[in-house]
């Protein structure tokens, strides 16, 4: 890496933790730490949501996917996100915010019972720990590749960069640094795409280079027998189940909105995040198509190297440093958010609920900080194992698709069907997870199809068992269920 590029990257990696550390002075209570004192304005929430959602693996994976399948890869940012974000903003977030909860499992615990809360919290924490290991390993590899430092030093450097402000500043520091990281991410990504399209002579010449050998690359919907993205899976699995589950029930996404200063800010944070979300394919998918037009010879697993290939072969000095910094921004803004959300889930839903219930607020603030540190150390230990046992980590990351459908099923019925009971919710969740496990490990179904059928199983079980068990008292459901909150406004 050239000296100028190195200077840009190192300046960036020093500036971010310094800026985040500034917010330590505002942290006095547990609510300050876990929910930024419920003072976040909508624009911070929007930027933080996008920063959290787009990780470095998205850059590499989406560009590789676009190289392989074409523009269909953009479904994940368009129909696989935008309608769900609208639903989340107007149908789910008002209830979470009104209930004054810290986590989504806490809300479902109030709506159903403690078993549902603990089960969901454990599932999310397990998935987040696996995901943290993968993210740390990606960060270590990137720093190792571009800065030439030994891998262990890169992992420790990542831990220091993220740990300094995540441990001290909590959600406020995470959200505020995410704002800067999202801007850097977009500047670097758009610069790369613009330069690539310009080098090819414009959009039309690029399309004309790709179409003769890849006629389906500019079709959003692919045939029903397509291996990865059949249109049935995209619509029924991704758009109707997986994306609402991600945007309405994922703690890392929702926690920002729970820290909003008002209900309007909570809703607006998600709505205004739809704008950058709509543009993300220009940052992640378009580079894959540019790489295909420039070099159609990347085959097999090498297709995932489309993005790194573009950085190495297209960018001039200075811009390479900026794009690499945007790559790191995408990664760090995901790591810090997942660390913060994991600590929140474990502190609020497990430690405070099951083990130590009546300590002063300061105690839980300290526990949150200690747990964040523990997760950082755990991520450093797990990171090299992703290389040694890739199958375990792929399975761990895939685990999300196993419980997302059932989670969305019980949340949807929990808010919009007064008759759903604690037993219906519990067996809906357990039955849905069992169904998706059988489909995944037993029948080897595609994850998009699993999401749909596990969601349907969960909903049907919830309805049947709820109708067979006594209804929940109205007092318990106040402020949690449609029709029993915000009277006259719904």
């Amino acid at each position: 890496m050239h000296g100028i590029d190195m200077f840009i990257v190192i300046s960036y990696l020093v500036a971010i933790p310094a800026f985040g550390f500034y917010f330590k002075r505002f942290i006095k209570t547990g609510q300050d730490y876990f929910l930024a004192g419920r003072m976040l304005p909508f624009w911070v929430i929007s930027m933080s949501i996008i920063g959290t959602q787009i990780g470095a693996t998205d850059f590499v994976g989406a560009a590789g996917g676009a190289y392989r399948f074409g523009i269909a890869q953009a479904h994940f940012e368009w129909i696989g996100a935008l309608p769900a974000m609208m639903i989340s903003a107007l149908l789910f977030i008002p209830y979470y915010w009104k209930a004054g909860v810290y986590t989504v499992p806490e809300f479902l615990g109030k709506r159903y019972n403690l078993t549902v809360r603990i089960m969901l919290a454990i599932l999310w924490v397990f998935w987040m720990i696996f995901f943290l290991g993968v993210l740390f390993w990606t960060a270590g590899l990137m720093l190792n590749e571009y800065l030439g430092l030994p891998i262990w030093l890169c992992l420790v450097a990542t831990a220091l960069i993220v740990g300094i402000y995540t441990i001290t500043g909590g959600l406020a520091a995470v959200a505020m640094t995410d704002v800067i990281q999202t801007v850097v991410m977009f500047i670097g990504g758009i610069a790369l795409s613009a330069l690539g399209v310009w080098a090819l002579g414009g959009w039309t010449p690029m399309v004309e280079k790709i179409i003769p050998t890849n006629p389906q690359h500019f079709h959003l919907f692919l045939p029903v027998d397509h291996d990865t993205y059949p249109w049935t899976g995209v619509l029924f699995g991704l758009a109707f189940v997986m994306s609402p589950a991600w945007w309405c029930c994922n703690q890392a996404m929702i926690q920002r909105a729970l820290g909003a200063r008002s209900e309007w800010d909570a809703k607006a944070g998600m709505v205004f995040a739809m704008f950058p979300k709509m543009l993300i394919p220009f940052v992640t998918v378009l580079p894959g198509l540019i790489a295909l037009a420039m070099n159609p010879n990347l085959l097999g697993a090498n297709m995932d190297k489309a993005f790194p290939w573009l950085i190495k072969n297209l960018l001039p000095t200075g811009l390479a440093g900026l794009v690499f910094a945007s790559f790191m921004a995408a990664l760090i803004s995901s790591v810090d958010s997942i660390l913060n959300s994991t600590a929140t889930l474990l502190t609020r839903d497990i430690y405070q609920r099951l083990f130590v219930r009546d300590k002063p607020d300061k105690h839980y603030l300290d526990v949150g900080r200690i747990l964040t540190l523990v997760f950082i150390i755990l991520a450093i230990i797990l990171a090299p194992l992703t290389k040694l046992f890739p199958g375990i980590f792929v399975a761990g990351a895939t685990m999300l698709s196993l419980f997302q459908g059932p989670t969305f099923g019980i949340t949807l019925l929990g808010i919009y069907w007064k008759r759903a009971t604690r037993w219906g919710g519990m067996f809906g969740l357990i039955g849905g997870v069992i169904c998706s496990s059988i489909l995944f490990w037993g029948l080897h179904w595609k994850f998009l199809d699993i999401a749909w059928w596990s969601f349907m199983t969960s909903v049907i079980l919830n309805i049947v068992i709820s109708l067979l068990t006594p209804a929940e008292p109205v007092e318990k459901l106040k402020n949690l269920v449609y029709g029993l909150v915000m009277t006259g406004d719904e």
Partner: protein
């Protein structure tokens, strides 16, 4: 796989996608103003979230019709 499913032309999912976006847009305009503005510091036009959702959905309809 069922043969009837494989024979469905690819403009059908395109129509479904457009209906999803258009339906979402229409649904937001059926939300009462009091709900949209709830807790907002003022009732300025730009705070009406339905306008922004409509803009995004129209862009998406255009994209899904183009590709």
């Amino acid at each position: 796989m069922a043969e009837w499913l494989a024979n469905i032309p690819l403009y059908v999912p395109k129509i479904i996608a457009v209906l999803v976006f258009a339906g979402g847009m229409i649904w937001t305009w059926r939300r009462p103003k009091s709900f949209i503005y709830k807790d907002a510091p003022d009732h300025k036009r730009w705070r009406d979230l339905r306008i922004w959702i409509t803009f995004v959905m129209i862009c998406q309809i255009a994209v899904y019709l183009y590709f």
